[in-house]
């Protein structure tokens, strides 16, 4: 059964890298009665242990990251405008004219641009550098701005969750959709004991997963992540990478990981045997927490099962609920299988 309200709550939570507390609270509240052990490690990762029917031969860990891309306030101008850095990889081109919320008090703000009327012809389509952008919260000067926000406060794209026609459009689907899938798995009766980690700071270099993998010390790991679907009109077919609606995505290699061959083949086999929609990522691009998990300690056999998501790292992404179920199903089949080998 689809608990769309939980997915909405997760996506609507504000939490850039290093500020994942709100997301973590939602998850703790959701899973605490379903797990046998729950802890928060030194850097904020949430580590859950759930007993299954049997003890597995090897220790298995499933992981999804809690953080989202966003901004951090670096300076307040005398006019009361907030200068910022991006947190995680955000294209300069998706920032202008967006609504954001700033800080723990969730102060609304906007990222303004110079009016089109006052631009010369060259400027009209020219990229605006982040250095020239700022967040306007309506403050009349620096003093007023600083009475509402502080340097180092985070800013996120404003929540905008919509579910219709089995499609979800929202900010932060990367990787709250992964967190959602993990919470769904935790609520099931599992065949084997499993560790679930909800990790911090993926978007700034896969840092949380590195520590979580050290702490859990798994033999096998499955990363549940949202990945770059570019099956959009105007984009050549060979550049589409993966497609929304075509099922779970597995990858042979990305910028951070050459994936375990056995697990790659196992994914194909399990999908085939169980009629789970599966597609292979048609690019060596991006990277996810597998990058630091598979090299943890003396090495971890790792696979990423990904959810195709359009417009990743912008103010609004798009996923299909059918794909989300495919990822969840395949992950469950992996747990069933890996416990015995």
């Amino acid at each position: 059964m689809l608990n769309i309200n939980l997915l909405e709550k997760l996506c609507n939570s504000y939490g850039i890298s290093g500020r994942e507390e709100n997301v973590r609270d939602v998850i703790i509240n959701e899973i605490s009665s379903f797990v046998d052990d729950l802890s928060i490690d030194n850097i904020g990762n949430l580590i859950a242990f759930k007993r299954g029917k049997e003890r597995p031969i090897k220790r298995l860990m499933l992981s999804a990251h809690m953080d989202e891309v966003g901004f951090i306030i670096t300076h307040v101008t005398n006019e009361g405008l907030l200068k910022f850095s991006t947190v995680g990889g955000i294209d300069d081109k998706v920032i202008c004219g967006k609504d954001v919320v700033v800080g723990e008090k969730q102060i609304p703000g906007v990222i303004g641009v110079k009016p089109i009327h006052l631009l010369n012809k060259d400027e009209r389509e020219k990229k605006v550098s982040i250095q020239d952008l700022y967040i306007d919260i309506g403050a009349k000067d620096k003093e007023e701005a600083l009475s509402y926000i502080s340097l180092g406060d985070s800013a996120c794209f404003e929540k905008n969750f919509i579910y219709e026609g089995n499609i979800v459009k929202s900010k932060a689907l990367d990787d709250r959709a992964g967190c959602f899938i993990l919470t769904n798995l935790i609520k099931k009766d599992l065949p084997f004991d499993t560790y679930f980690t909800f990790v911090v700071q993926e978007e700034v270099g896969l840092r949380g997963a590195k520590v979580a993998a050290y702490n859990v010390n798994p033999d096998s790991a499955i990363v549940i992540e949202s990945t770059t679907a570019s099956d959009i009109r105007g984009n050549d077919e060979e550049k589409q990478v993966c497609r929304v609606g075509n099922g779970a995505v597995i990858s042979f290699m990305d910028k951070r990981t050459i994936y375990d061959k056995d697990y790659y083949k196992l994914a194909l086999k399990l999908a085939d045997e169980n009629n789970i929609k599966l597609q292979i990522k048609e690019a060596v691009a991006g990277g996810n927490d597998s990058g630091t998990i598979h090299t943890s300690r003396s090495g971890v056999k790792t696979i990423a099962i990904s959810l195709p998501c359009r417009y990743l790292h912008s103010a609004v992404g798009m996923i299909s609920i059918n794909d989300l179920f495919s990822v969840e199903e395949l992950a469950l089949k992996f747990i069933e299988n890996l416990g015995n080998c």
Partner: protein, 338 residues
């Protein structure tokens, strides 16, 4: 005022499709003005002495910039053209609303940074962009060529007295006129006052043109949005927030009216600032002034930031003060000698 502005900004009124905003405006005014709609969809509300031989036309355009559907594809994507001066830089990766048989949510396509192959420092123009609804059946059933598309951006209060919304250009002007009408409703008027909430300003001011011809007023005041000070915008091209209405001064505007506004502001302690333009004003005033046998025309502007984006920002006091200045101008001004 805040509620009124929110009601107006929550009502989409793309150029040529202003019907819903017309209904909202009519509802605000019908209790104390005679309201009708003309061939172009302009809402005209008259107050005061109907048999007076002196009439003044107060104009604010009620349309807003947006986009218009030019292609529909079976896989749930559509293409668009601008309907008014849309800034293409604010579109990629944002949500829009397609105003078809029902309202459909779409995302303006963009390629994620993970897949960027080269440093591309240009935005795609509005005509080159695709909108992704993700909904195949709904698109074919509910969207037709020519449907309007708006940003998806609800009005919101920022800190202080500032409001963020799309279509503040020119719902601020509409709000000021409605407020002025409310104030005038308490007074006895010797002259005829015609309020015009005009259509299609953003695509060439066709609405104001036909209204003026029909009523041929003795004078006209246009209220529109202008640029508020922000980084990158020159001081001489912008007004300051909270400093009151910007009184327009231009070769094409009546100097007497401009001077008169200044005088009234001083007499009634209303903050004001002067906006000087070298030739045309870029507002309905440019069409109204040379209509028929000519109309003496004045212009009041309300400063907003980030014009023609989903996140325009205004200081609400400036709207209130604009309404007040208009009110005193009509009530106490020596209009016949203007």
């Amino acid at each position: 005022m805040e509620n009124l502005l929110f009601r107006l900004c929550n009502t989409f009124s793309g150029s040529g499709q202003e019907e819903n905003a017309a209904k909202v405006i009519e509802k605000e005014l019908h209790a104390f003005a005679k309201v009708k709609t003309d061939l172009f969809g302009n809402v005209i509300a008259t107050m005061g002495n109907n048999v007076s031989d002196y009439s003044i036309l107060l104009d604010a355009h009620m349309d807003q910039i947006g986009m218009i559907v030019t292609n529909i594809f079976e896989d749930g994507f559509i293409k668009i053209a601008p309907c008014g001066g849309v800034d293409c830089r604010v579109l990629p990766g944002s949500m829009v609303l397609i105003h078809g048989k029902k309202i459909i949510n779409g995302i303006v396509c963009t390629i994620p940074p993970h897949l960027a192959t080269q440093e591309d420092d240009k935005f795609l123009s509005v005509n080159e962009l695709y909108i992704d609804t993700g909904l195949k059946d709904d698109v074919m059933k509910n969207i037709s060529l020519g449907d309007r598309v708006s940003f998806k951006s609800s009005p919101k209060k920022l800190i202080g007295n500032r409001i963020k919304a799309q279509s503040l250009d020119n719902k601020v002007g509409v709000a000021a006129l409605i407020r002025c009408a409310q104030l005038l409703a308490q007074e006895h008027l010797n002259i005829k006052v015609i309020f015009s909430f005009s259509t299609r300003e953003e695509v060439g001011a066709q609405g104001a043109k036909v209204v003026t011809f029909k009523y041929m007023p003795n004078e006209s005041i246009v209220v529109d949005a202008s640029f508020a000070r922000q980084p990158g915008v020159a001081e001489e091209k912008s007004g300051e927030y909270s400093h009151g209405p910007m009184i327009g001064v231009a070769p094409t505007l009546s100097k007497n009216i401009s001077n008169h506004f200044v005088e009234i502001s001083k007499n009634f302690n209303i903050p004001y600032q002067i906006e000087v333009m070298g030739s045309l004003t870029g507002t309905n005033a440019d069409e109204i002034m040379p209509s028929g046998c000519g109309v003496r025309t004045g212009l009041l502007s309300i400063p907003i930031r980030y014009m023609h984006t989903p996140i325009e920002v205004v200081d609400i006091h400036d709207i209130e003060n604009t309404a007040k200045l208009l009110f005193y101008y009509i009530l106490k001004g020596d209009i016949h000698n203007a």
